[in-house]
């Protein structure tokens, strides 16, 4: 017999399920500190934080928070509200259906992170803490108090697993670290949210409208952040704030309500997105908006291939390229060898059909392969497309794509007399060129969303998922795997081609270098896949949000420069470690990765 059978000794034998916080502070004091810290943080934002307006955002004004102060104000208010709610203040308990303490911790972290980031940024930009006004000190102190208070609240400590005392020292260290990690996780744990009672449907719809308005506001704010510091502050606040709302159980409740009114939510989301250009005074951020939409739409198309049918496609951007080139060739551009100018609807058909043909051509021989082989072949196809487009310049091949110069000066679209290149005034709002394309792209996005939803919830969609789950069993159920996979591949390809036709017009020029496997500027195949995985495979909102983040972060954080891809890689690894199901998890995948934990046993029809 081995020595392993010696009775394991429990080190320091803690009482099971002991509840206590750090530092041994009594719970009422800790709660008071957290709540008070939140309130004080709010107060501090009405004071001046620095003496000069050299720091961007002008934080010198008394009584009027600006820039980063607004973010601290929001985070502080959230902390205070969750704090009061955890006291059981009437009318506020509804804020924390899953228990307030986890939410309070995250909210205080949001306030702390943003406030301290601001204070440190001011000190380092202007050279020293002397540049801080009392408001800045107050903000730092208040948010520190809040964070300390929130983190000394008692919580249920997990009991350490028994450990064999004969184990090596390294095992002991590992064990202690693991227990420490368990404790940290437990300290942030939230309860299970209570289900939302049936409200009158108008109230639920009002809630949905409010949620969408909030989403639009947050998104618009993020897109409109005009300097690096503000965007980083925005990320800190939004990240921790969202985590707080999630722990409070509000996100779960919101998704319950939106699941009850899926169609209204969907339409509402598009209305909210359509309102975006009206919140902008010039075309600067509408440009960002339309690029995000193109990226997100293609990512959603890829989600059919990857998320539903489980086909790993590493060359997906090529289909976007095929669509874009096809549309550019028939657009009447002077550098196109064809002297034709198709109307937009015809160009769309040509683009989608060209991508479809390429999708079938690539898919037919390769989809008989499983898994890794398909990934390699698609990766190869992506590169073949780019290199071919580079070489069809009249010297090394027939003159079709104009080589690396690409097809330039693609004229603006003109649909039914509506000139997409010109500014239009709609009810006092100026809608510029990119805003025009934003609306057009939104329609394409709607089409893709519709295709995704409808095909996903049908015989063919179930066949896709079945193939992904177990190909042999799917065959035994009478599913023609090859045919079904080819359909998924072709649908995905033509949707990307559809987006490509608009992209060609938005960017004026189509060049091979826009369609790389990996590059700093999305969309490229690697980023597309990352958007799907990061956002959440098999969902609609996941790739849309993933794509927005993946576009905005490199776009806003210019100072990262050459380290962009490095930072991106690190972020992706961390995400896959801690949230493998993506930001917006499909219920299925959530169950897959967190079998034992909080996952519901019943899959309701709220999947996306």
């Amino acid at each position: 017999m081995t020595t392993q059978t010696t009775a394991p000794e429990t080190p320091s034998a803690p009482v099971a399920g002991r509840t206590s916080g750090a530092l041994g502070m009594p719970a009422p004091v800790a709660r008071a500190l957290a709540t008070g810290g939140g309130v004080l943080s709010v107060v501090s934002t009405f004071l001046a934080w620095t003496w000069t307006s050299e720091f961007p955002g002008d934080l010198t004004v008394y009584g009027y928070p600006g820039g980063l102060q607004v973010l601290v104000l929001i985070a502080g208010a959230l902390t205070a509200l969750f704090g009061l709610s955890s006291y059981g203040v009437k009318g506020l308990t509804g804020l924390t259906p899953a228990g307030g303490d986890g939410a309070l911790r995250f909210a205080s972290l949001a306030a702390f992170g943003t406030a301290w980031y601001t204070v440190i940024a001011i000190s380092s930009t202007l050279g020293g803490v002397v540049n801080l006004e009392p408001g800045g000190y107050l903000a730092a102190a208040a948010s520190l108090i809040a964070v300390l208070g929130a983190h000394t609240l008692p919580f249920e400590r997990p009991e350490p697993d028994p450990l064999d005392p004969d184990e090596s020292a390294w095992e002991h260290i590992k064990h202690r670290l693991a227990h420490g990690w368990q404790t940290v996780k437990a300290s942030y744990a939230g309860g299970t949210p209570r289900p939302v009672g049936a409200l009158p449907s108008y109230a639920e719809i009002l809630i949905i409208v409010a949620i969408l308005a909030l989403g639009l506001t947050v998104f618009t704010y993020g897109i409109g952040t005009s300097y690096d510091e503000l965007f980083i502050g925005f990320l800190i606040t939004a990240g921790f704030g969202f985590a707080a709302l999630n722990k409070a159980g509000l996100v779960a409740q919101a998704s319950q309500i939106t699941a009850r009114h899926q169609n209204i939510t969907m339409v509402g989301a598009f209305v909210a997105a359509a309102l975006f250009p009206f919140t902008q005074t010039d075309d600067q951020y509408a440009t960002v908006g339309v690029y995000i939409l193109i990226f997100a739409t293609v990512a959603l198309g890829l989600n059919i291939v990857v998320g539903l049918a489980g086909l790993l496609d590493l060359g997906y951007v090529a289909f976007l390229g095929v669509g874009a080139y096809a549309a550019a060739l028939v657009s009447g551009s002077p550098s196109s060898p064809f002297d034709v100018h198709f109307p937009f609807w015809a160009a769309v058909l040509v683009g989608a059909a060209a991508s479809l043909v390429f999708g079938v051509l690539i898919g037919a021989p390769t989809l008989r392969l499983r898994g890794d082989y398909l990934a390699i072949v698609t990766l190869g196809f992506g590169e073949i497309f780019r290199i071919t487009a580079n070489n069809l310049d009249g010297t090394s091949g027939p003159d079709l794509t104009n080589g690396s110069n690409g097809i330039a000066s693609i004229p603006n679209l003109d649909i039914l007399g509506f000139d997409f290149g010109a500014q239009h005034d709609v009810g006092g709002f100026t809608i510029g060129r990119f805003a025009n394309y934003f609306f057009l792209m939104l329609i394409i996005t709607a089409v893709v969303v519709l295709v995704f939803r409808r095909s996903g919830d049908s015989r063919i969609g179930r066949a896709w998922v079945a193939i992904r789950e177990d190909e042999t069993a799917a065959h035994a159920m009478g599913i023609n795997g090859f045919r079904v996979k080819l359909i998924a591949f072709a649908v995905g390809a033509s949707l990307a081609g559809l987006a490509g036709t608009v992209q060609a017009h938005v960017t004026y020029t189509v060049t091979p270098e826009q369609y790389l496997f990996a590059g700093p500027i999305p969309p490229n195949s690697a980023f597309l896949l990352a958007a799907v995985v990061l956002g959440g495979m098999g969902t609609i909102s996941g790739p849309l949000i993933g794509a927005s983040l993946l576009f905005l972060i490199p776009n806003k954080l210019q100072f990262l420069g050459d380290y962009q891809l490095l930072a991106f890689g690190v972020a992706l690894i961390l995400l896959m470690r801690f949230r493998p199901e993506g930001l917006i998890p499909n219920r299925r995948r959530q169950l897959e990765f967190h079998e034992e934990a909080e996952a519901p046993a019943v899959l309701t029809k709220a999947g996306a």
Binding site: H475, A476, M477, A601
Partner: protein
């Protein structure tokens, strides 16, 4: 006497009793130099439950795979209701033979209902366009599929768990779900590959009842099983496969009484020692690079 396999009703794939549903003739399956199944004949008539037994490695599952289109037999042919089986497993299912797997192969991350709906794949036609356009035909077909799937879930007693994920079901219910999923394709013949493996006696009894109920719907059943009591209670006819060959076929009493079957399963008394034939076989097997996993001679030596 042909029956339309797509007729809807209580037993859509049912055919007149006594008619041969499955007719395998001289099925031989070779993998390189290894003959896993040698010249096996087997008929399954409608309304009949036929058992296929044999020691581990006797070639039962290989034979099964020949019947389901996973393998194309090297020699011989398999006919289903008079027509030679197509060589692709999905076409076999479409033709009317449904199967379950020895190791449960559910679509683990789909719900119970969705699993059964996938089983309806061959009996519905709605393609991509229909799904995208969502005409009245689509909704009708979808509703009909759901109704039929719920009916099947009720039949196996899982209707209360329609929205559960298949992976979260207990073992016995996963087996039931696999059967329901197979029935959803409206088969004329159901192939069950060790349906009671890992089950306790009560669950085995319940499965027995279920198989009888399926037979009563007019669906012929072919069962591979190790549990002798289960097989002999259940089957109208039993075929014994040993070393890839059919040893004997007949009703329970015939098979149970056959001493070759007893020998193959329980081993002969040790005094008799392995016969010259078996010894030669063992040696031949060992001489082969890829030793056949036939356990019969080995088991004898163990005892």
């Amino acid at each position: 006497m042909t029956t339309d396999t797509t007729t809807r009703g209580a037993a859509p794939g049912a055919s007149a009793p006594g008619e041969a549903v499955l007719d395998a003739r001289g099925v031989t399956m070779r993998f390189g130099g290894l003959t896993a199944v040698r010249n096996v004949d087997l008929t399954v008539n409608s309304g009949e439950i036929v058992g296929l037994i044999g020691p581990n490695g006797a070639g039962k599952t290989t034979f099964f795979n020949c019947l389901t289109g996973l393998y194309v037999p090297t020699e011989g042919e398999v006919r289903y209701k008079g027509a030679v089986l197509p060589p692709k497993s999905f076409k076999v299912t479409a033709a009317g033979i449904a199967r379950t797997f020895q190791n449960i192969r559910l679509f683990a991350n789909m719900t119970v209902l969705e699993n059964v709906l996938v089983g309806r794949h061959t009996r519905t036609k709605e393609g991509l366009w229909s799904a995208l356009l969502r005409g009245p035909g689509f909704h009708r077909a979808e509703a009909a599929s759901r109704a039929r799937a719920m009916e099947l879930l009720r039949f196996v007693g899982l209707d209360g768990k329609a929205e559960h994920l298949a992976r979260n079901l207990p073992y016995g219910e996963q087996r039931k779900l696999e059967i329901a999923r197979a029935l959803a394709s409206e088969p004329g013949l159901l192939l069950l590959d060790e349906p009671t493996a890992g089950m306790n006696p009560q669950e085995t009894r319940a499965t027995e009842e279920l198989v009888f109920a399926i037979r009563d719907q007019g669906i012929a059943v072919l069962v591979i099983e190790h549990d002798m009591r289960f097989i002999f209670n259940l089957c109208d006819r039993v075929a014994v496969l040993v070393q890839g060959e059919k040893l004997v076929e007949g009703d329970s009493a015939t098979v149970q009484g056959d001493e070759r079957v007893v020998a193959a399963y329980l081993g002969e008394p040790f005094e008799n020692a392995p016969g010259a034939e078996e010894v030669a076989e063992v040696e031949a097997a060992e001489a082969h690079a890829d030793t056949p996993q036939d356990a019969a001679p080995g088991k004898e030596n163990d005892r």
